[in-house]
């Protein structure tokens, strides 16, 4: 899960050019040439450059002809100012097929212009075409910016509870060593 848009300061090492002020963006499927600005945008927002990761995502979602996988970008003034990635997952944790949004990001200077809403609307339209009627996502509870965005779009807490544990802390588990 890579829902981003956390407002971390820009790194000088990144190559994300600041787009012109907020203008209405158009949403379209990603192209190979979009990878560079996407890597830069993600690096600017998260502070980490993950070139291989984005290339792999492009191969899996961008180059896919399957309607269930979507990688969309928002373009304004000839520049990529945002992206969204998601897919339809079938019977995950016993749930009927639904759309999952696992990455969304908008360039800090292009925010407050409805770009995130357009990206989410577009991917939801794709999910509907793929035959599902539910969309889900998951993100850190500290990521207030994106949490507020999804809330403003009408998303609410779903029926699942995310759980985790440290794998190197096996001895501390309540039932460590208990045969099941």
């Amino acid at each position: 899960m890579t829902v981003t848009r956390a407002g971390r300061p820009a790194s000088n090492a990144t190559r994300a050019g600041a787009p012109p002020g907020p203008v209405a963006a158009a949403v379209r499927p990603v192209r190979r040439g979009d990878l560079e600005p996407i890597v830069a945008l993600d690096a600017r927002v998260t502070g980490l450059e993950k070139r291989d990761y984005w290339a792999a995502l492009y191969r899996r979602y961008g180059a896919s002809l399957r309607a269930e996988r979507q990688f969309l970008v928002a373009e304004a003034g000839g520049r990529v100012v945002g992206f969204v990635i998601g897919e339809v997952r079938d019977w995950e944790f016993g749930a009927p097929p639904c759309g999952w949004v696992f990455a969304i990001d908008v360039h800090p200077e292009a925010r407050l212009a409805g770009t995130g809403t357009r990206l989410l609307d577009a991917i939801c339209a794709g999910f509907r075409r793929a035959g599902v009627s539910k969309v889900r996502t998951m993100l850190s509870r500290d990521n207030n910016l994106v949490l507020s965005f999804f809330r403003s779009q009408g998303m609410m807490t779903g029926p699942f509870i995310p759980l985790e544990m440290d794998l190197d802390a096996g001895d501390g588990r309540p039932d460590a060593g208990t045969a099941r």
Binding site: R141, D142, N144, L147, S148, G154
Partner: protein, 157 residues
Amino acid sequence: MKLQKNTRLALYSVLEFATDPTRHISAAEIAEKYEVSPHHLAKVLSELARAGLVESVRGVGGGYRFAGNARRLTLMDVIEMFEEFAAPGDDRRESGERTPVGQALGAVLSEIDEIAKATFRSITLATMLRLLERQQRGQALSRAPDRARNGVKVKAP
């Protein structure tokens, strides 16, 4: 997390005011709608006014009106005005909290509190108003078949 009466009153009030920021609403109107004492509500409203979230309008047709930014103000902003959250390392402890069982229970309760706080922080008044609108639309739609059956003309929302 259980909200105190004043906190709930504050949330009811700011949401009433934010629904139509141009409208002046009297404390008596809100008190009647939510079945609370006007005297009790007045204290809450004066606290909200002190924080700049509402402003009082004097004279005929006076009352209070919304003075905040509904797209920026979160439920947590209002809640924090009336609730006291224990900071990490707070020395005020309940009996039994230092025991192993108390500490394990504390970890679970703190997990629940953190989720509740994150939820309150992520919901702006504007989001709440949209939620309210959706609920009302849903209720109107669910009532529509009955009204249609009874021969009442239903106007789409």
